[in-house]
Point group: C2
Chain length 168, copies 2
DNA sequence: CTGTTTGTTCGGTCCAGTCCGAACAAACGA
DNA sequence: TCGTTTGTTCGGACTGGACCGAACAAACAG
C-alpha cells in the first residue's frame, strides 16, 4: 500500500474519478484503476495495478477487461518484454464520454425508437388515445435520434462552438 | 391484474420505458409507473396505480415520491374530491431528459471540476507530471461545463437546429 | 365516535453486483 | 525440464437496492 507518500492532490482527483465511475454505471474500482493509469507515466501491468490500488488480482483482471472493452484504457500486448500485458489510460476524456454516450444513450434511443415504431404498426385502433400517445413518443424520439447522430460526430470544441454560435 | 385486455402495443412501449428507466439510473417500477401514467387519460391515485401495475402500495408510494421529486410526474393534490392525491405524467419527454441531465450529468461535472481546481491549488509541485495531468483534466471539464450550461437552455428543436446549422 | 379509505413509514427478504481468495492455465527463465 | 511470474476463471462472502407486507397516521363518511 504505497498511498501514503502519494501526492494528496492526485489522491483527491482519483477519489473524484471513483465517484464519477459510479455515476456512469461503472464500479468504484473501475474509477480508481482508471485514475491510477491516468496519472501513471508508463503503462502498468496487473501486478503493478494490484500494488497501486490494493485490489485483488482477480478484481484488477476483470475490471481491466471491462475498461478495455469500453475503450477507457488500452491494452498494450508487449510480446517481447518481461511483463506480458500492460495498460495505459485513454487521455482524451472527450473520446471516453463519446463512447459512453454512443454505447448507452444512443443505443438506448435507437432500440426504443424501433420498439415504438413496431408498436405503432400493430396498433389495432390507430385513432385511439394510445395511438396518439405513441405517435407523440415517436416524434420525440426521432428528434433525439437526430440530435445524438449529429452530436457524436463533433469534438468537444466543435460542439461548444456550435452551441455558442447558436446562442447569439 | 387487468393487463390481459390492454392493447399489446401499449404494453410493449411500457416495457421499453421500464428498460429506459434502468439506463437512466431508475428502477424498473419507476419506468412502468411512468408508462401507465403516460397512457392514462386522467390522473391516477395510488390505489389505481396499484391496480394497474401490480406493485405493492408501499412501492407505488415510494416510487411516486421519487418521480415527483425529479419532475417526471406531477402530483395533483385534489383537496375536494374523494381521492386525495392523483398523479399525471409529464408528457414532454424533452423536459424529463433535461432534468435528468441537469441533476446527474451537469451536477457531476461541476462537483468534479470543483475538486480538480482545489487539487490543483494545493499541488506541492505544480510543474510535475501530476500537475500537467490535472491541468489537462481541468481544461476538459471546463469545456464540458460550458457545453452543458449552454445545452440545458435549449429545447430539443433548438438543439437540433444548432447542430444542423453547424454541420453545413 | 367509529369504521373505511388513502397514503406513509418501517422492518425484512431477495437478488444483482462487487470484490476476494484459490485453483487453474500459460509463458518465460534457470 | 521445473519453478516462477503473470493472467484468467470459478465459487463464495458481503453489500446495497428493489420490492413487499404490516403497522401506523390522517382524513373523510356514516
Amino acid at each position: 500500500m504505497s498511498e501514503g507518500n502519494r501526492p494528496l492532490a492526485r489522491e483527491r482527483v482519483i477519489e473524484s474519478l471513483e465517484q464519477s465511475a459510479e455515476v456512469y454505471g461503472l464500479s468504484r474500482s473501475a474509477g480508481r484503476i482508471y485514475g491510477v493509469l491516468y496519472f501513471a507515466t508508463d503503462p502498468l501491468s496487473i501486478p503493478e495495478l494490484v500494488e497501486e490500488t490494493g485490489y485483488a488480482k482477480s478484481t484488477v483482471s476483470n475490471v481491466t477487461r471491462t475498461l478495455t472493452r469500453i475503450g477507457l484504457i488500452h491494452r498494450r500486448s508487449s510480446e517481447g518484454g518481461g511483463r506480458r500485458v500492460r495498460f495505459s489510460a485513454e487521455q482524451e476524456i472527450w473520446f471516453i464520454l463519446q463512447d459512453v454516450f454512443q454505447q448507452y444513450i444512443q443505443r438506448e434511443i435507437q432500440t426504443t425508437l424501433r420498439t415504438i415504431k413496431r408498436a405503432e404498426a400493430q396498433l389495432s385502433e390507430p385513432e385511439s388515445h394510445e395511438g396518439e400517445r405513441i405517435r407523440e413518443l415517436r416524434a420525440t424520439y426521432e428528434d433525439l435520434e437526430e440530435i445524438t447522430r449529429l452530436a457524436t460526430d463533433l469534438s468537444a470544441a466543435e460542439l461548444r462552438a456550435a452551441l455558442e454560435a447558436y446562442e447569439r
